[in-house]
Symmetry: C2
Subunit: 227 residues, 2 copies
DNA sequence: TGACATTAGTTGCGGAATGTTACTTATTCT
DNA sequence: AGAATAAGTAACATTCCGCAACTAATGTCA
């Protein structure tokens, strides 16, 4: 399936030997983070990958790969930690992992399947390491980029958003505090729609609409350094 | 000088064609962040670099390069954003930048020189981009790693530390607030030494000694998202 | 129909964290 | 001795945050 999809697009010719671009594509389903895994020619599970091409941006290649795979552009994408120590399934010397996010509506098709990030299938060592680093990469960027928002559809409830943050942070948050902080940041805007999940009061929908606000110049938090 | 130093060490044979490992080595002098720049064979300024070698860790190669260059091991090192779009001086297709830190005692020798990060000499485009990304990379990691501490010597005054944070954050901090937050985080330990800079009261010296403390599970800060 | 469960969303309080100002302490310079 | 300089502290007001309790809107089920 991967090969078929790649043949459908007209991208630069890629040659074996340079570096692989490995894609750790993430999505949130059912309150858990999932990673897209495909099948290699031999049937073993692998992360989607492509080869770097002369003169082409690595990021663009990763974006093309994500689009070919899912039919949707990645909602967010960043480069991870390039590595050469372990062996890539293809024997490539170098791997450049990209960590991407697609919204919850993207379904896996063909040989591709979403796997919970805590219980991935048996990947090759280098790919396994890259997948396990993905969450850390997302955490690293979530203070400066709207990572949590990209896990959601364009319109979402505040409970959805809180759940996304809890997913990324790995801990529970307090509802009232979360909403107060969110309001103070002018990051979301209510839209005139409500969603009912069946039980309980319907929730208002919001969209990501950051407004310029002079970043409160507050002190430093040392909370995270030193374990 | 670079070539001489590299010949002195017995590292794996590196062959042209794979990827360059470019080093953005940073250090703080006189309240400003500096980057180490060397001279190429042709005399033009370049970032120190080496070639990736089969089977060797990219990070280890970068660490070796830093040690060969300065005689000191890098106090901290992380990988930056791999790139292929622009042209490397050597014509390499791929570059993996590493952003490193050495303490203030490391002096440049031979063809190497420290340049303020705001006024770098005319580097090749790809290297210029990598160097300009360095500060952003450091900022990205400073909440999770002791980046600011690595810019300092093993013992330092609290004013030194505050200056390092101000350097990285690009804004002034309040002395009292900074010290309170620092005390609450159990990150430093006073040692029984004082340093006098000539005028003013001598400052007590501290060292980085993080103690396990249950990270206060506080709410999220949205300050930085959305510009 | 009416009590109950469930989820969304708000309010108010107390304690913790932070910004600000002013102060004390220790040293050098003149 | 007194001014200048920098380190370090104290006190107070303000803001932030965790918590608990509350209201609101819907579905469920006896």
């Amino acid at each position: 399936m991967l090969l078929i999809l790649r043949a459908m697009s007209s991208r630069p010719v890629r040659r074996r030997g340079a570096a692989t671009i490995d894609l750790v594509l993430c999505s949130a389903h059912g309150g858990r983070l999932h990673v897209l895994v495909v099948k290699s020619a031999g049937g073993t599970p692998v992360l989607p990958f492509t080869w770097s091409a002369e003169g082409e941006s690595l990021e663009q290649a990763a974006r093309d790969l994500a689009k070919d795979l899912t039919g949707h552009a990645a909602a967010w994408l960043t480069v991870g930690t390039a590595t050469a120590a372990r062996r890539h399934p293809t024997g490539a010397a170098l791997s450049v992992p990209f960590v991407g996010i697609v919204g919850p509506a993207v379904v896996a098709s063909g040989g591709a399947a979403w796997h919970p990030i805590e219980s991935l299938p048996a990947l090759a060592p280098r790919q396994k390491a890259m997948a396990e680093d993905a969450l850390e990469t997302l955490r690293l960027h979530m203070d400066a980029a709207p990572v949590a928002f990209r896990l959601l559809a364009a319109s979402f409830t505040l409970s959805d958003l809180q759940q996304a943050y809890e997913l990324l942070l790995g801990r529970r948050l307090h509802k009232a505090s979360f909403r107060r902080a969110l309001q103070a940041a002018y990051l979301v805007e209510p839209i005139d729609e409500w969603r009912s999940e069946g039980r309980g009061r319907p929730a208002q929908l919001f969209r990501y609409a950051p407004r310029k606000h002079r970043g409160g110049h507050r002190s430093v938090r040392f909370d995270l350094i030193g374990r």
